[in-house]
Amino acid sequence: MKKVLYITGSLSLVIALVSCGGPRKDEGRAYMPDMAYSRAYETYSSTEALDKANIHYVARPVEGTIARGEMPAYTLKNDSAGYAQSAFVKNPLDSADLTAEQLTEAARLYQINCGICHGAKLDGNGPLYTSGAYPAAPRNLIGDPLMLAMTEGTMFHSVTYGKNLMGSYASQLSTKQRWQIIAFIKAEQAKKGAPAAAAPAAADSTAKK
């Protein structure tokens, strides 16, 4: 009888172990650890060991350098003087950068990064605001006279450094992508019958340079 107890006991233990579900919290073991874990520093790996060896890795490009294919950095400072000056900055992209295809790409970038608040139709009714999750009314980009009058330079300045509640998008969008989005917004404004003054200005900037 003792053995019966033994066997049923161990059986129930096995079943208990197998049925022990719940979310998995451990990474498990690697089959060949020497080929599974990188010896080089990978993206997001801790730089603590480097710090200890007195190597201070800042994870940022060297000041004044430009990545391949990227545009020269925007020079105006994030202060009221820079904001005022930004009104005179023209969109440096030429017409080759603003083809219909490029504007489709800009529309895609707009829907991902801006549409969530400013709305898919640029009317300030993004899903985050209309659902009541976001407490501030985003600007209506095609109806608000303030936005129609705002120059592309000032828009770019605001997107680069953030304005009021809007944060900076410089970390999410490259300089070129930001200018493309501004060009897309200006084109949409022109479509919706923006004041005559704004449309030629936008056309100028694309024709020049």
Partner: protein, 426 residues
């Protein structure tokens, strides 16, 4: 006495709602006009209940001289001129870091409408505050089911064993009664049939477990670590419809999908400081999670003070150390942009129904067989024209010609080298 109390409560509720209704109905027209005005002029910088770019507007008549709407109008029409001789608004500018934009087109009637709307909202908030009990969602019960099934099968097994013992005992008794002589029965653990059966079961079961364990080495299916902040993809990507690429934009153009830095979180959470409207959140142990407290954790990393939003310096934020879930061994190369941009693969194909997950777990096993299987079955988007479709595969001239002439109807990933070793291992 038993009847009395509910009636009393009902009466008081009735009275309260009547009171609230009367307040609202008196100013209903004004509030409606005020609401439209508020949305177009004030809403971008002000909220009624919390400080944002500008002060919270609820209860503004109790502050400064704003009960006098003419004073308020003078301030709104020309803030710079009003501030020159007024200490209170100078203090506001010092606190919020910028002066309010002037609205010279606003009239005294507009101000009355706006204040009526703001007061109506404050009243609505106060009366609506008590009845906020959302039906609690029961946590997932599938684990409990598995346990119940396990216990039932254990009990059935024990019953079967007992019945077999009873059967052999009865047989022995009947043999004794009829005087049939048989050799003394062996106990079941020395019975060769039982031993053979047990060893077969042992080897099948043990072999299955060993093979399963060996295959599982280095794989992390269902891996769901605890993260430093209870970040719910269900709330962000599901309910609030934020595009995956808003935070993981690098998936479009780089090897890594990238974890958003704190400033990306703060793009929205500068304004959203509480979690109120969404469904109740539970972690995997069934404990309820306080969303507002989790947002407060984010503020700690960001160095952000919600009572002083305009003093925030993004450069002082500290990175959040999220735990990486989807790990590939170092000897495998995987590139997100190749799959997302060139291949048009949806995020959910590999990461599962992310928009329904509170805590993310690894759904796919990320094994080589799993990769290869998909490469064998998936069609490549070869049909491109000038506007849509991708041009990434335009150099495969033979395939394009074959598709045109009808020799092939589709090109799989394996046809363009999706099974070659050195594509992923080098």
């Amino acid at each position: 006495m038993i009847l009395c109390k509910p009636i009393g409560q009902r009466l008081s509720v009735l009275f309260l709602s009547f009171f609230a209704l009367s307040v609202v109905s008196v100013s209903a027209q004004d509030a409606a006009a005020g609401k439209a005005l508020y949305a177009s002029k004030c809403g971008a910088c002000h909220n009624i209940f919390k400080k944002m770019t500008g002060p919270a507007l609820g209860g503004l008549e109790d502050r400064h001289k704003w009960a006098d709407h003419k004073e308020l109008l003078a301030w709104i029409n020309n803030p710079a001129a009003y501030m020159a001789k007024d200490a209170y608004t100078q203090g506001l500018k010092a606190e919020y870091g910028s002066m309010m934009t002037g609205f010279p087109e606003i009239t005294l009637k507009d101000v009355d409408d706006l204040v009526a709307y703001i007061n109506a909202e404050v009243v609505a908030q106060k009366s609506g505050g008590d009845k906020k009990d959302v039906a609690a969602e029961a946590p997932d019960t599938s684990n409990q089911n598995a346990l119940i099934f396990g216990i039932i099968s254990l009990i059935l097994g024990v019953v079967a064993l007992i019945l077999m013992q009873v059967n052999s005992n009865l047989k022995k008794m009947s043999d004794d009664a009829e005087g049939i002589l048989r050799p003394a029965p062996l106990p079941f653990y020395r019975n060769k049939t039982y031993i053979a059966l047990a060893s077969v079961i042992f080897f099948v079961f043990g072999g299955y477990m060993v093979a399963k364990g060996a295959i599982g080495l280095g794989r992390q299916t269902n891996y769901q670590p605890d993260q430093p902040i209870f970040y719910s993809h269900k709330v962000h990507a599901g309910i609030n419809q934020i595009n995956c690429l808003y935070c993981h934009g690098n998936a479009w153009e780089s090897k890594h999908a990238a974890i958003p830095s704190v400033n990306v979180c703060m793009n929205c959470h500068k304004a959203i400081s509480t979690y109120e409207k969404g469904p109740k959140l539970y972690n995997d142990r069934g404990e309820e999670i306080d969303g507002t407290a989790e947002i407060a954790k984010l503020y700690k990393y960001a160095g952000f003070d919600p009572n002083n939003p305009n003093k925030w310096d993004p450069s002082m934020a500290k990175p959040i150390e999220w735990v990486k879930i989807h790990n590939l061994p170092d000897h495998v190369y995987f590139n997100h942009s190749q799959h997302v941009t060139a291949g048009n693969v949806q995020c959910q194909s590999c990461h599962g129904e992310i928009t329904a997950m509170d805590e993310v777990k690894q759904v796919a096993e990320l094994s080589m067989g799993w990769c290869i299987n998909c490469h064998r079955q998936t069609n490549v988007n070869f049909n491109y024209d000038s506007t849509k479709g991708n041009k990434f595969y335009s150099i495969y001239e033979k395939f394009h010609n074959d598709i045109k002439s009808g020799k092939m109807d589709s090109v799989k990933v394996k046809d363009i080298g999706g099974l070659e070793c050195q594509k992923c291992h080098y």
